[in-house]
Amino acid sequence: MADIVEVAEPLPLDALHRSLGARMVPFAGYAMPIQFEGIIAEHLWTREHAGLFDVSHMGQLLLPLAADKPLETLLPGDITGLGVGVLRYSLLLDEKGGILDDLMVTRRADDLYLVVNGAVKAGDIAHLRAAGLAVDYREDWALLALQGPQAVAALQRLVPGVADLRFMRAAGFGWSGHALWISRSGYTGEDGFEISVPAAAVEALAQALLAQPEVKPIGLGARDSLRLEAGLPLYGHDLDPGTTPVMAGLSFAISKRRKLERGFPGADIVMAELLDGPATKRVGLAVEGKLPAREGAEVYAGDVRVGIVTSGGFSPSLGAPIAMAYVAAAHAGDGTALTIDVRGRRLAATVVPMPFKPKNYVRAATPTDGASA
């Protein structure tokens, strides 16, 4: 059992995590909590109650409103047509349509608010600036995610009004004299919120949330198992410059107007793939038995290698191993029987639709008793 030593900078909640008994690991250049009481318990708690995640490693960027049009030269989403307070999932693409990062873009009254992956944020910022965009990197803000079916009850108690947000909508709120930017979104497949908060106030807010009976702290380990069950890809694993939006099953991120107008990087390649179908596709695999198939495991149809696992692990909700893989299109249909090589063993696996576990998003505003109208 080998130890890994990496340079890891502390984030604003470092002391709180340690006081709560977190096991800290280096991730994206930061010291992050991988688990508190245990991945399975934290995972199941989030599915039933509410889990608090520190995702302050992610990059929060502000762009001027006028950047909407030039931003469209870097990604296939409709940003100019985005309404105020609406989130759009999009993809920074290279000239071949390869994915440089996946991100959320929200139009606010006075700016565009972007959330990008922590591990590639420096590259993203350089890429945006190279395209002539003015990027304000808000290192002074922390980011929390409160996820799970009881997240709305817990947060509404502290921040009245959040229950009125619908999925993929955001607005400004106040708490204890601090400005918060809250979106109804997340990375677990559950209802929940992402809360941008000044770093100076994040510990007090996290403590207030953890004082709610529904809420427990959740580490990166459960964040990964939750997103895997939800069928959500992880950048650097399921997405990278060798994958395109169509291969990745993310064609929904190519907005209708952009399909007609094009003008995004790699548009010809991506649109041809959309028309003709990609050579390989990201699929879900249900794995038989108990042995997990991990990233890098090769996928076979008979004796022919037809793909590779990009994320895999044990699904706490299903009690069985699950995986995401890129598989040759001919073998990517739901129900296709394949095998996965794990240390010389061939595990039986079946292509299944994702999410592995149905999502519980709140598409309409939730009625609440009392506090808000």
Binding site: M1, R23, G38, I39, I40, S225, P292, G313, F314, P321
Partner: protein, 123 residues
């Protein structure tokens, strides 16, 4: 019977030239929830420091190294049905395999429980 530990967090109970191998309580805590254990079959020849088993936690697969050389005589069949034994009873029922030592003198470089506890305290 004497218990020894390695710096890789395996333990070894030695009685004469037979021994039982597992991973320490500290190790299981580091791994988190164990969901699968791949143990060597009886008859497998293992070498000191060589990979002998694999522990799969929710998070990752980790190699377990044999603390000594020898031939495996029995794998812990209970781990197949209940891999979480590694978490709940790492230093008792959650043992991995038993072996016949080919060179009992290899034990000399290993730590006793007190030395291992001191070692873990430095981590």
């Amino acid at each position: 019977m004497t218990r020894y530990f390695t710096k890789d967090h395996e333990w070894l109970d030695v009685t004469g030239d037979t021994a039982t191998v597992g991973i320490s309580d500290y190790a299981q805590g580091q791994l988190g929830d164990v969901v699968f254990v791949e143990v060597p079959a009886a008859g497998t020849v293992v070498s000191k420091g060589g990979q002998a088993a694999v522990v799969e936690s929710v998070k990752a697969a980790s190699d377990v190294y044999s603390p000594a050389s020898g031939t495996v005589t029995e794998a812990n069949a209970a781990l197949e049905a209940d891999p979480a034994l590694v978490n709940t009873a790492p230093e008792t029922d959650g043992w991995f395999f038993k072996l016949t030592l080919s060179d009992p003198s290899e034990i000399e470089g290993l730590m006793d429980a007190a030395a291992y506890a001191a070692f873990v305290a430095t981590l």
